[in-house]
Symmetry: C2
Subunit: 227 residues, 2 copies
C-alpha cells in the first residue's frame, strides 16, 4: 500500500536513540579502520568525513563524538601507525654502536613491507606540501633519523669499512632513496615490472638492494679474496 509513514517503515533505517545491544567500541573501531584505509590511499584532504562514515557504516556525527572531528581522527591514526617507527629510531639512536649498516636496510624494508601505508604517508606528509602534520613529521623523522645514520656512516668510514672518499650525507641520502622508493612505487612496480609483492619478492629485493648499495659504497680492499 506504499506506506511512507514513519511508524511502519522499519527497513534499514535505525531508530534514533541508543541501540539495543551495546556494541560501543565497535563503532569507534569501524571508524578507525575505514579512516585508515581511505586516508592512506587518498590522503587527508581528498577524503571527506561523510565518506569515512559511509564506508564504516555509521553516522557522520560519530566522528565528532569519538574523535572531536576529522583532524582528531587523523591524528589518532597517524600516531598509532607512526609510534613503533619512532620508537625504532629512538632505540637505534640509543644503541647506535652495535648496529650493522647492511642489516639496517633490510630491517627498514621489512618495516615498509609490514606496514605498507607508511612510505606513502611519510612522503605525503614530509616531502609534499600536503598534510596538516608536516611539521611534526619532519621533526620526528628526517631530523631524528638523518643525524643517527650520518654518525653511523662516519663511524664505518673511520673503521675502514666504507669508502672514505664519499660524502657521508649523500651516502645517507642514497640509502634512504634505495630503501624507501621501491615501496613507494610498489603499486606501479607490480604492474610495470611484472612482479608480485610477496615474501619471495621482498627477500629478492632486500638482497638486491643491499648488494647494490654495499658493493658501491664498500671499500674494495681485497677484491679477489671473497669470490
Amino acid at each position: 500500500m506504499l506506506n511512507k509513514s514513519s511508524a511502519t517503515v522499519q527497513r534499514k533505517r535505525r531508530s534514533r536513540g541508543r541501540p539495543r545491544t551495546a556494541h560501543s567500541e565497535d563503532v569507534r573501531e569501524k571508524l578507525l579502520r575505514a579512516a585508515r584505509d581511505l586516508f592512506m590511499r587518498y590522503g587527508y584532504r581528498a577524503v571527506s568525513s561523510r565518506q569515512i562514515a559511509s564506508a564504516a557504516g555509521v553516522n557522520v556525527a560519530m566522528i565528532r563524538y569519538y574523535f572531536g572531528g576529522k583532524p582528531g581522527l587523523y591524528r589518532e591514526i597517524t600516531n598509532a601507525m607512526v609510534g613503533p617507527l619512532r620508537a625504532g629510531i629512538d632505540a637505534m639512536s640509543a644503541g647506535a654502536t652495535q648496529i650493522e649498516l647492511a642489516s639496517l636496510i633490510g630491517t627498514a624494508m621489512r618495516m615498509w613491507a609490514t606496514n605498507p601505508w607508511l612510505p606513502g604517508l611519510i612522503v605525503r606528509e614530509v616531502l609534499m606540501q600536503e598534510g596538516p602534520l608536516r611539521a611534526m613529521f619532519i621533526r620526528d623523522f628526517p631530523e631524528r633519523l638523518v643525524p643517527v645514520l650520518e654518525k653511523l656512516v662516519r663511524r664505518e668510514m673511520e673503521r675502514g669499512r666504507l669508502r672514505a672518499d664519499l660524502d657521508p650525507r649523500l651516502v645517507v641520502l642514497s640509502m634512504i632513496s634505495l630503501g624507501l622508493f621501491p615501496f613507494l612505487a610498489l603499486p606501479v612496480t607490480s604492474r610495470v615490472f611484472g612482479v608480485r609483492a610477496d615474501e619471495a619478492f621482498l627477500q629478492h629485493l632486500i638482497r638486491h638492494t643491499t648488494d647494490v648499495l654495499t658493493r658501491g659504497i664498500a671499500v674494495h680492499d681485497a677484491p679477489g679474496s671473497k669470490k
Copy 2:
C-alpha cells in the same frame, strides 16, 4: 559623503566589458603561470579555481573562458611540462643503441634540476592515487621508460659491462630510485642535510650518484688496475 553608488566609485574595480587596451594573451598567460605554481606546490585537488584566479589577479570566470574549466587548465599545464620529457623518452627509445648508461642518470638529474616541479608531479600522479591524469601518466612514463631501460641494462650485461648476476628489472628500479628520490626530497634535504640546492651541489650529487651506482652494478673484472 560616503557615496556608495556605482557611478563615482572608480577605485580598483574594473568596469564590466572589454578592457580599453587589448592585452588579451596577458590574462591567459598570467593564469597559466599562477596555476602552474600552485598546482605543482600543492597538487590538483588542494588548489581551487578561485585561488588560481586570485593569484593571477583575474576573474574566476576567465578559467572557463580560456580553458573550459579547472581540468582543462591542469591538462594544458601538465602537457606543456611533460612534453619535452616524453619526447626525450621517445628519442632514447629510438636511438637506444648508442646510449651510455652512466651518462643517462646525469642527464635525467639535470632534467629534474631544470624542471623542479617534475619529480613531484610524477610521483603525485603516478605513485599516489591522486590526480585526474594518473592513467595517462602511467602510460606515458613507467610503461614507456621501463622497457627501454631494461633493454639497455640487458645489453650492457651481455657486453660484460654490468654484473650479470643482478636482476635487470631491479637494476632499473634502483636507477630510478637513486635518480629521482633525491629531487623529491630536495625541499627537506636542504634543511635536514644542510646543503644548498645550487649548481655546485647538483654536480656533486650527480657525481656521487653515478659513482655509487656504477661501482655497485659494474663488473669488477680488473679491480687493481684503475685503483
